[in-house]
Amino acid sequence: MGKAALLIIALSVLAWEGRAAEHWPDPDWASTSAPISPALQALEAYAFAPRDGHGREGVRTDALLVIHDGRIVYERYVAPTSAQTRHLTWSISKSVLATVLGVAYGQGRFNLQDPVARYYAPMQAHPMVRIEDLLHWASGLEWQEDYEYAPLNSSVVAMLYTRGRADMAAYAASGARAVAPGERFLYSSGDSNLLAAALRGMVGSDDYAWQALFQPLGITQATWERDARGTLVGSSYLYLSARDLARIGLLMLRDGRWQGQPLLPPEWVAFNRQPFTTASTAPGEATPGGHWWLNAAVAGRTRPWPDAPAETFAALGHWGQALYVLPAQKLVIVRYADDRDGRYQHNELLKRALAAFAGEQP
């Protein structure tokens, strides 16, 4: 009896010590700067190549923030972006939306197999589409995401700026069925905005993202723009500082746990990180998971970013925005940018960041 009590005390002390040794941004990030090394210089040479004044060519990083095991080890901004800037995240918004949905999932507000129509009435036109299908970008609805090369027929341009802007989810729901739900991956900002409308239907509150995710994480400066109907533009328009976006990365790195409290169920994070099995993506393109992007190899291909570990996952946005999570290395990397051509390569940045912060040879 006495021995058992002693063992319990010893175990709780160990557990408490283990937690105390973990760093969290509470309220602000702790910081230790990494010594300047050739590997760090190589990373900077890639990320912060000189910009020419007028053109918009090449790699144009606005912010690079590296967190190791809960502490800032590197941080650099290019004016006018600063540590205070709420930077546009573009499609990183989609993965953050999925994380907000994860809190709702933990509260038992929905199941992955539920029809979207249960929470968003216009989807009664497509009663077979489930929440899980939207999270896999596999609604089966017609969609043209490309806008650089097909602006006329781009569904996303029409949704954000013209025909769909008043009610983006309704615009997405008005699309014709192309294939059966869950059958194929087709990257669609429409699917993400249907999720935003479904979330609104589930929670009945316009501030749910703040209550459920931002406030618990200590994020006080978030902007998330809405359409004219008041639904979050879940696909595109979340603005966060680099340090605040890193909080979401740390939450994911620690399997949904925040300071010892489970904010997301571990099975939700596992779903985010599970490759969508019927996905077929172009070589070099990240593998879709549950509204997050994975470095997992699919169908005998090499992994999308060969120089990064297979378990690397990310939230990615237009013009080079990225939030990378490298679980084994305990790294969270935020990159904000204004890349206007396709020259920036995730693999190259990850390779150099690993060399600089995880001691790996490039």
Binding site: P80, T81, T85, R86, H87, L88, P151, L152, N153, V157, A158, L160, Y161, T162, R163, R165, A166, D207, W210, Q221, A222, T223, W224, E225, R226, D227, A228, Y237, Y239, D338
Partner: protein, 98 residues
């Protein structure tokens, strides 16, 4: 020659018919994009005027881009269409007006 032109015209009209909705909406993209993204650049990201003007610049030039800071209201005109975006608040950011 004449027949060829007629055939081309028929093809062009059929194509335009198919894409009617997209074609009618398209000229509005430039001004809507510029008004919305300039508004967010200034009032959400809090970047300077010069930076934001360059940030929204496209290959096709705008006729006007007017910012009324006291109202947080941005108006843009291009390709014969006008659009306005207004800042709604710190959480809501900017939105295109109907």
């Amino acid at each position: 020659m004449k027949r060829g032109f007629l055939a081309l015209l028929i093809i062009a009209c059929t194509w335009a018919g198919w894409h009617r909705e997209a074609l009618l909406a398209f000229p509005g993209v430039l001004s809507a994009y510029s008004a919305k993204e300039y508004c967010s650049c200034r009032y959400v990201m809090a970047f300077p005027v010069e930076y934001c003007r360059a940030y929204v610049q496209q290959y096709l030039p705008l006729s006007t881009l007017r910012d009324e800071p006291s109202l947080h209201l941005v108006s843009a005109t291009g390709l014969g269409r006008s659009n306005r975006a207004a800042w709604q608040g710190p959480r809501e950011g900017c939105r295109l007006l109907p």
